[in-house]
């Protein structure tokens, strides 16, 4: 398998009901190059099975921008999976 020399280091943020579900608001992650936002969500869904049911009602973000699930992540990215917003 083609592999970058070093793994990517990310910060993953959780808010609202997802923060409550995981029990933390922030985690550092080391993953292989070529990983997408969907791949990372799947890792968390494996760790926290209740997360999986939220997948269709979340939007992913990468570096403070909404991002499609197939977006590849890069080193030093900050990513999050955002529940429907309810400000106002």
């Amino acid at each position: 398998m083609p592999q970058a020399l070093s793994n990517l280091h990310l910060k993953v943020l959780f808010f609202g009901r997802l923060r409550e579900l995981t029990g933390f608001s922030e985690e550092s992650l080391e993953i292989p190059a070529g990983t997408t936002l969907a791949d990372i969500f799947d890792r968390y869904a494996a760790r926290f099975p209740k997360l999986a049911s939220f997948r269709s009602s979340l939007v992913a973000s990468r570096n403070q921008e909404f991002a499609s699930w197939d977006t590849p992540v890069l080193d030093d990215d900050t990513i999050s999976f955002l529940p429907p917003v309810s400000g106002g």
Binding site: G16, Q64, S68
Partner: protein
Amino acid sequence: MLNAAENDLFALVHEPIDTAALAREIRADRDGASVTFDGFVRNESHGRRTLYLEYEAYEPMALAKMREIGQSIHEKFPIHRLTIVHRLGHLEIGETSVFIAVSAPHRRAAFDACRYAIDTLKRIVPIWKKEFFNDGAVWAEGELPPAPPSASKSAS
């Protein structure tokens, strides 16, 4: 465009919002109108009596999205100044959670911009509200921001 967006004010605060001061602040002699929106905490939700609310935000992203809204407002409407302030943390019934004020030479642009600001904020700004009742608490049902098109189609 009457004015660049750098005179606008966007903030997330943990203290009560001084709405009167903000409404005064955005006015200038060349304006002829200002429109304000004061969103505050209602005492019920779907027939249940609300005790209080808690708001949280992805703060840097929320501020960035508020600035984006300001930018697009200056492109769409001939307004002078805009402020959007959202409060976070614990809010009691009747307290202002969001305040928007827009000044413009003429009323129509001010009305339209203010409406656009609150409608867009509720759709894309990453802020979440938890409602507390006598018998529990729930995260408010919100709106899912539109996801951008697939990454494979966009240059990166």
